[in-house]
Subunit: 110 residues, 2 copies
Amino acid sequence: MGVTKTDLFSQVQNDIAVAAKAFSHPARVAIIQYLLKSNACINGDLVLELGLAQATISQHLRELKEIGIIQGTIEGSRISYCINPDRWGQIKNQFNQIFDQFESPKGQCC
Amino acid sequence: MGVTKTDLFSQVQNDIAVAAKAFSHPARVAIIQYLLKSNACINGDLVLELGLAQATISQHLRELKEIGIIQGTIEGSRISYCINPDRWGQIKNQFNQIFDQFESPKGQCC
DNA sequence: TAAACCAATCGTAATATTACAATAACAGTT
DNA sequence: AACTGTTATTGTAATATTACGATTGGTTTA
């Protein structure tokens, strides 16, 4: 088959899975890292920086926008992208909530 | 086409993308959460818990094992899975390093 | 040894993702 | 209005992922 059975899982579990997709492709990681250091950029910057085709970058940007981790504003004939602070914090919290749940057991568990 | 151009990206970027895949499917999130609260479990536990076929659970477990976030030890006729503490910490650090790089700018960036 | 149990693997089908060329859409410029 | 620059979208091909039934390989139990 090949279609994820989202109805089997909780809202939180599906949310985390969606958020994780922002980081599950090296190009998207690279885009996010570029935005972290440059604060804002346009499609063309990323084409030069990453070496992928313009259409491919645009596709990744759309995914990141759909996830909500970035936002774009029209600026003349170009679109300026940046990180969405609220969503960023939300995703950070979701992940940290999971990361902090684990405590290394004293003995060997398995 | 459809094959990720890993050679365009840094080691770190590819590493993070691989680690993120552990969380990029709700079933794997559910498995990880189950391991967090039960410390250890076997394939059969997850089949009951998640409602997916045995083969599907096994496939997700293999992925998680390949990523290194879980480990399995043979225990008689069954295999006991648990979280790999070292790898867990490593992934946690990788993500936090990214999460902490963002500082919300005073004004609107875009 | 046979039966029962458990989990990995194989085979297969459906769907999703990744990538790019080509084209469309739109703003600014000449 | 024609041209240029920038990005989204469309179309398409290749590869990857997800899911499950069936089978295999292993250990335990009867």
